[in-house]
């Protein structure tokens, strides 16, 4: 059975012209794999991630069926949902500077994430935090645990976020643009780290699936097994990452061609005819 | 319908149409807010009353008739008469003129003054900021009514001096707001881009900084109107504002004070007028805040 199945998911927001579907009836299944959701701004990719965690606030509205480990997410109470968030589905946001609490030390925050879901003796919590910081390749975990969010660099902050999100051992990790606020050299480190953690877990205890949401098609292709391309709230292409160069939909092809290459020789970059997709 | 389409056009054809379109959108939003609508109606009523006072009021506001002193409200005198036999309804109607005059003059004097001082202070920063804000703080640290009282006492009682006194005490708050806005605006890229075009500081302050400060200023001034009316009434009440026989609402309450237990209407009627008008400005100010707030725009 699939870990997560989404059927005809719609997310709508009111506008002066009536309700607008930001996510417009998408369906997909997720097993023990790494799924990439790619799209440009306004494609609805981030809203899809948020809808899965029921993080869309009114006046936004979510319709459709979402089943996680056989449970209907829409039917859960807010309290059950809170227990699920973090413990079994975790989310890494774009900018760690806004997601970390500025007045709590990093160690306390990670411990907090663990304590909410598990009752452990204090010493064991300390050990788990240390081990987790170690596993996100922070070389001096004891020192870093005592720091505040503003004392961390971007890459370090994102590692701390990942540690915080993974310490309760979730089954599904949603990473929404986890590296777009980071420098290129750090980007690769963070993505490789997420990748390793996902792979390690799949053999150890129960495994973990990944949904990587990004605007960067080549990047997603490098770190995922399967790719969904979204445009204007719909999935326009679904393919294995290795078959990306065989993508058939003109939108996907347009996106691929529009990216400048490292050894660029084209005099002009191909441009998409926007009117054809009526995107935002 | 055609006019509406012209106003709401997404691609206006001229500067005029673009400006009219924006004004139309703001007023549409304002209309959708019921409280703001009530506020607007009240203020419209105030303006109409002030303009048409001679036609609305049944009697002159100063005509004394000692034979009908302190008559309770009746069909003949809707709000009764005061200790000199003057028709209170007529005085309240004419009082609208005085109130409107105070409010308008204070706004015209203090808002631009505060705006300019705040914008200059925030835009330049450094020593300019320290000196201007030091001055502002001195004014801010004194209680408004006491300061107005001191000014009114120094300049002599009278409505003009009351207006000057109130204007002098209200600008510091506006300067503070404008400075806070200017501090964020001066670091924006559009200001940097305009500086690179070779624009002078004066030009940047007047064309870039001030237009963005004005909406929060309009909101604040509207909300402060109630306070201004009350301060003016307070000065009138203390005998330092409008002088008799000028029908100023605060002064009218003051003179009705001695009969408050037996002839309640003398002080209550102008009191009502103050409350209604103050409320009107508060409602409108709240509505304007929802509509004009730059942070909520364009979403």
């Amino acid at each position: 059975m699939a870990l997560l199945s989404v059927e005809d998911l719609r997310v709508s927001f009111p506008s002066p012209q009536g309700r607008v579907n930001v996510v417009d009836g998408i369906s997909f299944e997720l097993g023990q794999e790494r799924l990439g959701i790619v799209g440009e701004s306004g494609s609805g990719k981030s809203m899809t991630g948020r809808a899965l965690l029921r993080l869309i606030r009114p006046p936004g509205r979510v319709e459709g069926r979402m089943r996680f480990e056989g449970q209907d997410l829409a039917a859960l109470s807010e309290r059950q949902m809170r227990a699920l968030r973090g413990a079994r589905i975790s989310m890494i946001m774009q900018d760690p500077r806004y997601s970390l609490n500025p007045v709590m030390t990093v160690g306390t925050q990670i411990a907090e994430a663990l304590r909410v879901h598990e009752h452990l003796p204090r010493r064991e919590v300390r050990a788990r935090v240390r081990q987790m910081l170690d596993s996100v390749r922070i070389t001096d975990p004891d020192r870093v645990a005592g720091l505040y969010a503003h004392e961390l660099s971007g890459g370090m902050g994102q590692r701390v976020m990942i540690a915080m999100m993974l310490i309760p051992r979730p089954r599904l990790l949603i990473a929404d643009e986890p590296t777009s606020a980071l420098d290129v050299s750090v980007q690769a480190d963070v993505l490789r780290l997420i990748d390793d953690l996902v792979r390690d877990r799949s053999t150890a205890d129960g495994g973990m699936a990944l949904i990587l949401i990004s605007h960067d098609l080549p990047l997603v292709a490098r770190y995922c097994d399967r790719i969904l391309v979204m445009n204007a709230g719909r999935i326009v292409e679904s393919c294995a990452a290795s078959d990306l160069h065989l993508a058939s939909h003109p939108y996907t092809r347009g996106l691929l061609a529009a990216v400048p290459k490292m050894n660029e020789t084209r005099a002009e970059l191909p441009v998409m005819d926007r009117s054809a997709w009526a995107g935002t | 319908m055609q006019l509406q389409a012209w106003l709401l056009d997404d691609s206006p054809a001229s500067r005029g149409q673009a400006a009219a379109g924006r004004a139309y959108r703001v007023s549409l939003d304002l209309m959708r807010n019921p409280l703001a609508l009530v506020g607007m109606l009240i203020i419209l009523l105030l303006i109409l009353t002030a303009a048409l006072a001679p036609w609305i009021a049944p009697e002159t506001p100063v005509g004394q008739d000692l034979t009908r002193r302190l008559v309770p409200p009746s069909s003949e005198h809707w709000m009764g008469t005061d200790q000199l036999g003057r028709d209170i309804f007529s005085r309240v109607i004419y009082g609208a003129r005085v109130t409107l005059l105070i409010v308008a003059l204070v706004a015209v004097i203090s808002a631009p003054l505060g705006l300019l001082i705040g914008a200059v202070s925030g835009y330049f920063g450094g020593w300019t900021d320290r000196i201007l804000m030091g001055m502002t703080d001195v004014f801010l640290s004194m209680p408004k009514l006491v300061l107005a009282l001191a000014f009114a006492a120094a300049l002599g009682p009278g409505i003009e001096n009351a207006i000057i006194a109130i204007a002098i005490t209200t600008w510091p708050a506006y300067a503070r707001i404008a400075r806070a806005e200017a501090l964020t605006i001066r670091n924006t890229e559009f200001v940097a881009a305009t500086r690179l075009l070779g624009a002078s500081h004066t030009r940047i302050i007047t064309r870039q900084v001030l237009p963005l400060c004005t909406s929060s200023m309009i909101i604040r001034v509207t909300l402060d109107m109630a306070g201004i009316i009350l301060t003016a009434a307070g000065l009138g009440f203390l005998g330092l504002g409008a002088q008799p026989p000028l029908p100023e609402w605060g002064a009218m309450i003051s003179s009705g004070r001695s009969f408050i237990f037996d002839q309640w209407w003398v002080a209550t009627m102008p009191g009502f007028a103050i409350i209604v008008v103050s409320l009107g400005f508060c409602f409108l100010g709240d509505g304007l805040r929802d509509v004009l707030d730059p942070k909520s725009e364009g979403k």
Binding site: E40, S41, G154, D183, V184, S185, Q187, A188, H215, D216, L217, P218, A221, R222, H245, G254, L255, A258, V259, P260, K261, M262, N263, E264, R266, A267, E268, L269, P270, V271, M272, R274, T280 | D10, S11, P12, A13, S14, R15, Q17, A18, R22, T188, E189, F190, A192, A193, T194, L196, L197, G198, A199, R203, R207, Q208, P211, L212, P294, E297, G298
Partner: protein, 248 residues
């Protein structure tokens, strides 16, 4: 002839030295890139050139005239800048028309109507955008307006501060094409700051790699084709950006 010349320039920011001993020349008509990661001081160099970062020492000149420590009216006619954030670089309460007329008014240039219309068509915007406000436009359209504003005074040198990094890839392609076309049509000199090496490959002739406030290497863009960098930091940056064949 050199368009931009920096000789041993140090730049400070709030008392701290963020750029150290930077030296490079950009020839007229050349497109030169400053690449590096955040905190490398690459944007600070642009700001110092136009006088927005006044704490600098050394020698800087644009088109043979020495730079001063504040924004300069004369320099404005010859050198303009395009900023990174198309949402922040346009005044939220001004129409496109007002934004584009402003430089003309400041410098007392007549024939505004025709010039604004031409500028719009030059950057590929329909004339119906002329009286729109920024919030009625997309990011790419705003960036076109910002480019049009920079071009209003017909400068010879354009400083580009990450002009496409806030845009979607498909929009980025449009803006990059536009910048390339404008340069060809008008013989502009570009000095671009970016962290995106493929963009450099598309738009630039030469590049300087910056790290921690210093230039570690100046190379021709051809180095991006084969990865022939000499400095270890440049090599690492090249590899991290997907250079050396790991992409596709």
């Amino acid at each position: 002839m050199t368009a931009i010349s920096l000789g041993n320039v140090d730049i400070g920011y709030g008392g701290q030295r963020v750029v150290e001993a930077v030296t490079f020349d950009v020839a007229r008509g050349e497109s030169f890139a400053l690449v590096g990661e955040s905190g490398s001081g690459k944007s600070t160099v642009l700001k110092a050139l136009v006088g927005l970062a006044p704490e600098w020492s050394g020698k800087m000149s644009v088109l043979g005239r020495s730079c001063v420590h504040r924004p300069d009216r004369d320099l404005a006619r010859r050198c303009q800048m395009v900023f990174q954030d198309p949402y922040g670089s346009l005044h939220p309460r001004k129409t496109v028309d007002a934004v584009l007329s402003e430089p003309l008014t400041i410098h007392g240039i007549g024939g505004q109507d025709a010039r604004v219309e031409r500028a719009l068509s030059d950057v590929g915007l329909d004339r119906r955008f002329r009286f729109r406000y920024p919030h009625q436009m997309s990011g790419g359209q705003r960036q076109r307006v910002a480019i049009a504003r920079a071009l209003m005074l017909e400068p010879e040198v354009m400083l580009l501060d990450e002009p496409t990094s806030a845009l979607d890839v498909s929009v980025q392609a449009e803006i990059l094409n536009l910048l390339k076309r404008l340069r060809a049509e008008r013989g502009l000199t570009y000095l671009m700051v970016t962290h995106n090496l493929p963009v450099v490959s598309f738009l630039c002739d030469r590049m300087a790699v910056m790290n921690k406030g210093k230039i570690v290497e100046i190379a021709a863009t051809k180095a991006l084709h084969d990865g022939r960098f000499t400095d270890p930091y440049s090599k690492a940056l090249y590899a991290a950006s997907g250079g050396g064949g790991s992409t596709e």
